[in-house]
Symmetry: C2
Subunit: 148 residues, 2 copies
Amino acid sequence: MQSQQDKDVTTMELSRRLLEAGLRPSVQRLAVLGDLCHHYDHPTVDTIYSRLQPQMPTLSKTTVYNILRVLCEAGLVRSLNIEYANQRFDGHLEPHDHFICTCCGRVYDLPHDRTAGLPSFEDLGLHVDREEVSYYGSCRECRGKQAR
Amino acid sequence: MQSQQDKDVTTMELSRRLLEAGLRPSVQRLAVLGDLCHHYDHPTVDTIYSRLQPQMPTLSKTTVYNILRVLCEAGLVRSLNIEYANQRFDGHLEPHDHFICTCCGRVYDLPHDRTAGLPSFEDLGLHVDREEVSYYGSCRECRGKQAR
DNA sequence: CTCTATCTTGTAATCATTACAACTTTAAAA
DNA sequence: TTTTAAAGTTGTAATGATTACAAGATAGAG
């Protein structure tokens, strides 16, 4: 997890990914995709917007919503669905699971421990494209606070 | 999955579960919990409300929200977090995974194939309480429609 | 340079969820 | 039984995320 390759990804590389997906590498798209690749905090729409807005005063939150939708559709980004939380986004595509602290809401990356690929449910008529594994519990920091 | 034991669960049994959790078995709570135990469709708040309202004309949607929150807190029900969908609820507590058809949005139950218990991430300082495994893809019915 | 499709933007609407305060019910005490 | 307090329910109003829509800006093709 958190190899340098994603944090160090260049604008040129991001641009290449967008073009490959048939999307124009606009400054807004590069900014949103870059934000997701350069952070590991699984941000909400609002977090992304707040981080980018100071550098791009004309950025609209609608644009962030639009861009996240097309990035998800293109498979350049994935969205997480977390209990009692807004939609969150993840720009790191290597297979990994998530741990959500039910106390502070932070999302941690975990190695994906399934050795085989996706399981097959074809006998049930279900064709699996992807899986999402989430663990819920408490992180060390929150348990420390509770102990006080 | 879908053993008869849950579909056939009696009001007395539901009442017992509520009392055991320290909750009064009000008619509203019995109705909401019963609806979740008698169906396998992982309903939304709105679906539950719509199913119960005809029999209980004074039922309030706020009550359904309140009840679902306390049932979740009591561990009598679990909530699912599904991409691009409202919160959904599941009254069947035996360990199982979910398959979500990204075409029709239906949620199917799947056997949980992990032989061991929950994995441990204590070395990372993370204490796991529960896991949620979701598979996304297309069901037979939707693939049939697309083929046309 | 012009045209057209693509992309961005802001405003207004929608819709799920929550806050809150009043009202009702229940269980237990007196 | 009556009283009382806690627990539970209800409706309305507020909140806040997300989407719809229409106008404006941009960029690549010809």
